[in-house]
């Protein structure tokens, strides 16, 4: 982030565990709102049964099935890290030593939840 140092509105970041988790939180958040817009647009075809059936048939494509696993990755990351952030904010987990530890605990929990959910999804492919 050195290129940004000294600029009028520069914010200084330290590359510790929580910062990396936070960067991913922002990226996954933006992907999720983009998904919500697309999802709502597809669901609005419910007003026309033929249109809805056509849209759902298009989503049967293996590419979309794979993208669904990507959606699960992004959504489970954002949800579980969000819960960690709430704990950091309100449950006194913000002390330095706890804080570094809880990021690593989060990665383990996230990995387990993601794999557990992704296996049945991939088996349907």
């Amino acid at each position: 982030m050195d290129w940004y140092r000294g600029r009028p509105h520069h914010i200084s970041y330290k590359w510790h565990e929580g910062f990396v988790a936070w960067i991913f939180h922002r990226i996954t958040g933006l992907l999720l709102i983009l998904y919500l817009f697309l999802h709502e647009w597809v669901i609005s075809t419910l007003q026309n049964p033929q249109g809805f059936t056509k849209a759902m048939a298009a989503l049967e494509n293996p590419l979309f099935k794979l993208l669904e696993v990507g959606l699960w990755l992004v959504a489970s990351y954002h949800a579980i890290n969000g819960l960690r952030v709430v704990l950091v904010n309100f449950a006194g987990a913000a002390e330095r030593e706890n804080y570094q530890g809880n990021v690593w605990i989060f990665w383990v929990i996230f990995a387990i939840v993601f794999v557990a959910g992704a296996i049945p999804m991939l088996m349907k492919l």
Binding site: P8, H9, I11, R26, G29, L30, L32, I33, L36, F37, E40, W41, I43, S44, L46, Q47, P49, F52, T53, M56, A75, A79, G82, L83, V85, V86, N89, F90
Partner: protein, 123 residues
């Protein structure tokens, strides 16, 4: 857009000010976790494939209309509030006003789209 400077500087990033939207972001986030689990469970584990009949039967019920509308209101609020936090952190020119206005309009359009999809639906 220089004349906006003083106004913008007072709201310099989500780290300064905006504590109510910060708190509501936490509250709506936890609510979304519960709503998402319900939504996911209903769509993927209960009652057959995701075809028109399955979705229409559920959406015709007033209780599910309330659930889905609550879900979409929380999701849109949380998502667009998140975009606002990004704008506040990374956009430091008059464009901030433009982007915030833009996402206000997008949010309202999508709220209306959800309402006209869910509320009048009879199946």
């Amino acid at each position: 857009m220089e004349y906006m400077r003083g106004f913008i500087d007072r709201y310099q990033g989500s780290g300064k000010g905006g504590d109510l939207s910060w708190l509501l972001q936490r509250v709506s986030g936890v609510a979304l976790l519960v709503l998402l689990l319900g939504h996911f469970f209903i769509e993927h584990f209960v009652g057959g494939p995701l075809d028109y009949q399955h979705v229409a039967a559920r959406l015709a019920s007033p209780l599910w209309k309330v659930f889905d509308l609550t879900f979409v209101v929380f999701a849109l609020y949380h998502g667009i509030n998140g975009i606002f936090m990004n704008i506040e952190d990374y956009v430091h020119s008059g464009w901030r006003v433009f982007w915030k206005g833009f996402f206000w309009v997008v949010g309202i359009i999508y709220l209306v789209l959800a309402a006209i999809t869910i509320l009048p639906f009879k199946g």
